[in-house]
């Protein structure tokens, strides 16, 4: 499958364009002029030490309140999304798999999935998915990920283990089928078997029409989700860009080289 992807890219159409992005939280600048372009169909990985701005980047990409973009811009598939609301970005086809998915008691996972799918369809001017088609889709996708009916009927992420929460994030990813997905430390808290299952789910979505940004601290995840490009983020800017081999290098030598560039304080 992999051979068919990535390699086949004909156009160099940029799905995501981040230009000189400066973003602050509580008056403290975390992203300090970050620029990044991800062509259609490619998987890019961002690696970096703690406090380099990795999670901030994921939140800024998905439109979380509380992050102030002081300059620069983000565009997705030709749309300037810099100031868009989270739901508008989702409707365009952007997705964030959270590092720490919240627990929402009283909202069952299955109802949440159905509401999300139909909200996206409505925003795109499409017809709502009927109950039968939804169940068909849900059954196929949950089987692949080992998500049980019991999990689907429980409150969203309530009482889920770390691994179950991450599988639930990937379930949402495969159900909502975005065109661009940010995976924020999806490997954290996963044992090796769960990591394989989760990676398989993500890989099944790889296509020439879809791009990914995989944020991770460790190289391990990239053994399973092979990136086309690896970037090193430190001190709020991209410090280095290379091929998949860059991840192995980082695993060997650590981030020391980049951390010396990192100025005061750690911000996730």
């Amino acid at each position: 499958m992999r051979a068919q992807l990535g390699r086949k890219k004909e156009s160099n159409y940029k799905m995501i364009k981040i230009k000189d992005l400066h973003a602050s939280i509580d008056g403290k600048e975390v992203l300090k002029g970050l620029s990044l372009e991800i062509p259609k169909g490619e998987v890019h990985a961002i690696m970096g030490p703690n406090g380099s701005g990795k999670s901030t980047l994921s939140y800024v990409l998905s439109g979380k309140e509380g992050y102030e973009i002081t300059s620069g811009s983000i565009s997705f598939d030709g749309h300037d999304v810099t100031n868009m609301m989270p739901e508008e970005r989702a409707a365009l086809g952007m997705f964030l798999a959270f590092q720490y998915p919240v627990e929402i008691p009283g909202v069952t996972t299955i109802n949440f999935l159905r509401t999300a799918i139909n909200s996206l369809r409505k925003a795109r001017g499409e017809e709502e998915m009927d109950a039968i088609s939804f169940l068909k889709l849900q059954k196929a996708r949950t089987a692949e990920l080992g998500v049980t009916m019991d999990m689907l009927k429980r409150g969203l992420n309530v009482g889920f283990s770390g691994g179950e929460k991450k599988r639930n994030e990937v379930l949402q990813l495969v159900m909502l089928e975005p065109r661009f997905a940010v995976l924020d430390e999806t490997d954290s808290g996963l044992d090796i078997d769960a990591l394989k299952v989760v990676s398989k789910g993500i890989n099944s979505l790889r296509s020439a029409e879809r791009s990914f940004l995989v944020i991770t601290h460790y190289q391990r995840l990239l053994d399973y989700i092979k990136p086309d490009v690896v970037h090193v983020l430190a001190d709020g800017v991209i410090q280095k860009t290379g091929g998949a081999e860059l991840a192995l290098e980082l695993e060997k030598h650590g981030y020391a080289e980049f951390e010396k560039n990192q100025s005061n304080g750690a911000v996730a």
């Binding site: 309140e65 739901e87 989702a90 509401t115 999300a116 909200s119 996206l120």
Partner: protein, 427 residues
Amino acid sequence: MMVAEAQINNNTINLLEGWEEGLDKAPEWVQSFRKKAADDVMKTGLPTPAWEDWKYTNLRNLESVTLCEASSLHVVPNISSPFIDLKPIIVQLFNGSFVGEMPDLPDGLMIAPINEVWTNDWFKGFVSSLSIDTPMEALNSAFLNDGIVIKVSENTKIAEPLLLLSTYENSKDMLSVMPRIVIILENNAELNIVEHQSGIGSYVCNQATSINLGEKSKLGHYILQDNDRTQGYLFNTTKLNCYDDAVYDGFSLNHGAKLSRHEIFADLLGERIECIINGAYNLISTQHHDTTIKTGHFSPNSISKQIYKGVINHEASAVFQGRICVHNDAQGTDGHQLNRTLLLSEKAEFNAKPELKIYADDVKCSHGVTSGDLNDEELFYLRSRGIPEIEAKQILTKAFVAEVIEGIKDSVVRDIFLSISIEEGTK
């Protein structure tokens, strides 16, 4: 009776108006019962914010109301209720009086209008043994006539739920309704009751509910209070006496009237009782709702739990007062109380007064109160999946309330409550 400084104000006189009507037709004991109650009301007056238990609920607006007699309509109003789906035994009260035909009742279940049973010794014995602790109860007692008695015989389990449809309606002046509901479960009896209270137009309803649960009996008591939100005053005083091994599973969903107060006295007189009094309320506009619960543990090893969740929007206000009192003999008591409130507007107001009074040594008791806005992280999570902000807020509000509804023991009743829109009620 709590006697504070007597304050005989206009609303006392207003609400007592007409209490003597039909008095001569009542049995002698009812006449003296009513006279004494009316006297009590005149002595104390109605509560004012100077009374400790009424600090946050002010009845002064009642002063200006003009009451007219309850309409004695004998046409059964056409009520839609989501609880019809339970295929229940349906009994209808209109402005406090029984209307329509009495349905066929299963063996062991007796339902009758109060004024048809009040010559019976057991009824007299039960009602005259009840303490009268509040002026609202005394006021209701001064009018004892309307309402019904529900009684389940020993060792009888009633399979079908009972749906009590209570409607208040008046389009002219204010209407005062003083129904009494008496629920008696004899030893080892079981029943589920759903009360759907629906008020339209302006009215004052002051209901008193007296419940007696015999040994090993089980009562599911579920209330949907689904009134016109802009008008109406609704007072509901529930007195609950439980004996050994009784189970009370109580839940009420209050969409409120203009002003409402639900006051519950639960006396756990026997051992190993399980008493659950849960509820939720959702207030908008300038509505005011007050829940006041007083639980008394008198014997060892009983459990009492209360969880109330409130959603307050606009300029509405709510009060939660909860007192658990564990008496000397009540070792091994397990008493818990939790109140969580969602304040959806800056002008929404919430006052809470949790209290624990513990006179026994070996007990587990807790109480807690929280209030706040919707969780930003949860809101962002839903929005990031494409759910628009308004809808995401509705989902989270409903989920907040659903958590307490999910505690209802009867799964079919639970599902119906879950399907009721928290914003709109059933209307």
